[in-house]
């Protein structure tokens, strides 16, 4: 696909808005439809698109493999860690109330954090899965590269 | 916990011996010596308990509780002590004999043989000293499993097939009948202890008593009650020392011993007599006695003939229990001792004949007696004891059993016993008779050639046991005083 100039230009134009939309969905889930999962999928799709058009090796230069793998775990740990923080603050696991001055404030922060955790994990896992499939295709990338 | 150190030791020593046997696996002389010494020490340990038990003590030991109210526990009582004495005493002789037999035949895997032999003895003593049904059951199964490698020893297809039959029938009956009987007893009474006078009285409706007894009687497959007797002839594929000890003494006697224990200590003879729960068993035992004798007559294979003879003789003990009178229990207990001695003589002779001539068929033995006079003389004495003719010990047990049939008003059974003795005469005594009085069978011209007696170690033990049967005739009171302590209906007479 390296030769499809139109495709590459269009992609470059379209990917930033997709990412932006993803972030919007991530942080606007409180009010409208959407949340961490949907945002994660959208952000993953943006990078998948990038990978499809520019090739996996280039995608891996943008997002190193170590980074993707670490984010997979980091998202989960952020979620689970939020819960652990509530425990350390004397509440039950995943009780966000102690995070803020008022319980409602705490809920806001807590939900923000866990949704972020979901988003990070979903985006990185989806991307990792895509790369894993794509890398299996002949003439894509070599094992050592990731 | 333990009253007498000899009690745990008599069970443990054979196991330790087994360990040593395993360690000395590559040094046959040490290994065999260890086996022999172990047998002697074990016998001494068991014998050590005798005076105390005679004096009325009941040494006991309890390890741990397995179920509420049921522990892995031991308790030495007269019947068990007698069984343990016989098993451990004959182990010494059999080991002696086995050393001669195994070496003469050049058998392989002798270490495995002595190892499992030791485990089997330990299990048999465990059965003898069990304080409750569950402990007994555990050692009963251990005995089955530890003798399996002995039966399958040769590893041929035939041996494996025979061993499979052995295992399936013994484990099958014990799991399918004996185990539910035990569970039922436990469910009904809340205990499994052997108590004088039995434990089921008041817990079991009399109508169910025959059913429970049937589960026990068929569950104790080692007693070889028909129709679950097939394992015994099948087990004859084993080397002869195995047949001698296990299928004349340890295994089969464990069966009828359990039968007596259940009759006396679980049901109680009074209860059996009152409810008539064992009447059917009297007839089944009688049938087994006769049928097995008749089958034995048709067998040309010497060991097979002896095996069916054993099936028949075992049912004497079952009969003694089922008659539910004291003389029956006495006769049964005595039969355990007398038959053990007599039958082991016969088996050892059969093995001696095999070692010397490689002959296994009765019809091939004509005239052999003149070549092997000691072996066949011992055989003849053993046979007399089995038949019950004085001056051999067997006469006493037959006497008490006949008395019991009269006590129980079962005159028909008296006739059965007499008929069986007659059959015994025919199929047992005919063997030494042929050997001594018929012309030599071998090839027409050269007869048996230069054939002589088997090696000393194969001849001496049967001669000793044969003498033992005679000694027991004159000293039967020793056994009598021991087994008279068994608590049965009406106390001592």
């Amino acid at each position: 696909m390296e030769h499809h100039l139109v495709l590459r230009v269009v992609s470059k134009l379209i990917i930033p808005p997709i990412l932006l939309f993803g972030l919007y969905v991530q942080f606007h889930g409180d009010h409208g439809a959407g949340g961490g999962f949907q945002a994660g999928v959208i952000i993953a799709v943006a990078f998948i698109l990038y990978g499809l058009v520019f090739g996996i090796p280039r995608l891996l230069r943008v997002l190193p493999w170590r980074f993707i793998r670490a984010s997979m775990a980091a998202g989960v740990l952020l979620y689970a860690g939020t819960g652990a923080a509530s425990m350390l603050m004397g509440a039950d696991y995943l009780d966000y109330a102690p995070f803020g001055a008022t319980p409602v404030e705490g809920q806001h922060l807590g939900i923000l954090l866990v949704e972020l955790g979901v988003g990070i994990t979903v985006a990185s896992v989806m991307l990792a899965i895509f790369i894993a499939f794509a890398a299996r295709l002949p003439s894509q990338i070599k094992d050592e590269e990731w | 916990m333990t009253d007498h150190i000899a009690l745990p030791l008599s069970i443990l020593i054979p196991l330790i011996i087994g360990l040593f046997v395993h360690m000395f696996g590559d040094r046959p002389n040490q290994r065999d010596a260890v086996s022999l010494i172990g047998g002697i020490v074990t016998f001494i340990m068991v014998g050590w308990l005798l005076p105390e038990v005679m004096a009325g003590a009941r040494p006991s030991a309890s390890l741990f509780e397995m179920l509420p109210n049921v522990s892995l526990a031991f308790r030495v009582e007269p019947l068990g002590l007698m069984f343990a004495l016989i098993a451990s005493g004959l182990w010494v002789l059999t080991t002696l004999y086995a050393i001669g037999y195994m070496r003469a035949n050049g058998e392989t895997d002798q270490t495995r043989f002595y190892l499992f032999f030791a485990i089997a003895i330990s299990s048999a003593i465990g059965i003898a000293f069990s304080a409750n049904l569950l402990t007994l059951f555990i050692f009963y199964e251990a005995l089955t499993l530890s003798t399996y490698p002995l039966v399958a020893h040769k590893g041929t297809d035939e041996a494996r097939k025979g061993a499979r039959t052995y295992l399936v029938i013994l484990l099958g009956t014990s799991i399918c009948f004996l185990l539910p009987a035990i569970i039922w007893t436990y469910g009904a009474t809340g205990t499994l202890d052997f108590e004088p006078g039995g434990i089921v009285r008041g817990h079991l409706p009399p109508a169910f008593a025959p059913l429970l007894l049937a589960l026990f009687a068929f569950g104790i497959g080692k007693a070889a009650l028909m129709p679950f007797h097939r394992w015994l002839p099948a087990a004859m594929v084993a080397p002869t020392p195995v047949s001698a000890l296990l299928h004349a003494v340890a295994v089969v006697k464990a069966g009828v011993f359990t039968m007596l224990k259940v009759g006396v200590y679980i049901f109680g003879t009074d209860y059996l007599a009152e409810t008539g729960a064992s009447v059917w068993l009297v007839w089944l035992a009688g049938f087994t006695i006769l049928a097995a004798s008749i089958i034995a007559m048709t067998k040309d294979d010497l060991k097979a003939r002896l095996a069916y003879s054993t099936v028949s003789q075992l049912s004497y003990v079952t009969l003694g229990m089922a008659l539910a009178v004291q003389s029956g229990v006495m006769g049964g207990a005595m039969q355990i001792a007398m038959h053990a001695l007599g039958k082991i003589t016969l088996f050892m002779c059969a093995g001696g004949i095999y070692v010397a001539t490689h002959k296994t068929k009765v019809s091939e033995l004509d005239g052999l007696g003149r070549r092997m006079p000691f072996t066949f003389a011992a055989f003849a004495i053993g046979a007399l004891s089995i038949i019950g003719i004085p001056p051999t010990g067997g006469a006493w047990s037959k006497f008490y059993l006949m008395l019991a049939t009269l006590d129980a008003h079962q005159q028909v059974l008296l006739i059965v016993l007499m008929a069986s003795s007659l059959l015994n005469v025919i199929y047992l005594l005919s063997i030494p008779a042929r050997a001594f009085f018929l012309p030599e069978a071998g090839t027409a011209l050269r007869g048996f050639g230069t054939l002589k007696e088997a090696p000393l170690l194969c001849v001496l033990p049967p001669c000793l046991t044969a003498i033992g049967t005679i000694v027991l005739f004159f000293h039967a009171d020793r056994i009598y005083w021991l087994i008279a302590l068994i608590p049965t209906a009406g106390g001592h007479f």
């Binding site: 889930g29 009010h31 999928v41 799709v45 997979m72 990792a128 894993a132 499939f133 | -």
Partner: protein, 195 residues
């Protein structure tokens, strides 16, 4: 009424798609239809007031799932082989299950009935208290992230597990050790190094 008609049309379209998917042997076309199926069901979710679900179904079914399916097709096969197996047993199993389900639906509360237990027991609590206790407008998010936040942790763990699983399967060497094509005896040679 119009809603009902739209519902009906969508459902019929779903059915038609599903039936087409049974029949199609071209797997690329089938995957495309699977995407269509997802988008149709997403529309139906919208009609049933489940906008979040619709969004997710569209993103997953229409997006990720299709991409993965296509990727898998590129690595496996493009056409389904002719069917050799007996179809009657599967048909019987399916019909029996379906019959059981249909039997079970008879006592279900009517569709949309506000008096159904579903709407009267736990749900009203969320609707009544979420604005106060959580302070966000989207009830779905409130329940998802807070009331049943632990389920969502589990859900994230499922995604994570899938990631671990796929990486484990697809990052390992291309061929199994000891595999050769054609008939062979199993196991022992796998370690002997002969192959």
């Amino acid at each position: 009424m119009i809603m009902t008609l739209i519902d009906l049309a969508l459902i019929l379209a779903l059915l038609a798609t599903a039936v087409m998917m049974i029949r199609l042997r071209n797997l690329f076309a089938m995957v495309m239809l699977a995407g269509v199926f997802s988008l149709l069901s997403a529309s139906l979710f919208v009609a049933l007031d489940a906008v979040d679900v619709a969004f997710t179904e569209a993103a997953v079914g229409g997006g990720i799932s299709t991409v993965l399916m296509l990727g898998a097709l590129a690595l496996t096969a493009r056409h389904e082989a002719p069917i050799r197996r007996n179809q009657l047993v599967p048909l019987g199993v399916t019909i029996a299950t379906g019959a059981a389900l249909l039997y079970g639906t008879a006592d279900l509360p009517l569709f949309g009935d506000p008096a159904a237990p579903v709407h009267t027991h736990v749900a009203p609590y969320y609707l009544a208290t979420a604005p106060k206790e959580i302070g966000i407008d989207n009830f779905v998010t409130a329940i998802l992230a807070s009331y049943r936040g632990f389920d969502t942790l589990g859900e994230t763990m499922v995604v994570f597990t899938a990631g671990v699983a796929v990486l484990f399967l697809l990052r390992s060497a291309r061929r199994s050790r000891g595999e050769v094509s054609g008939p062979r005896d199993d196991a022992p040679d796998a370690r002997s190094g002969k192959v």
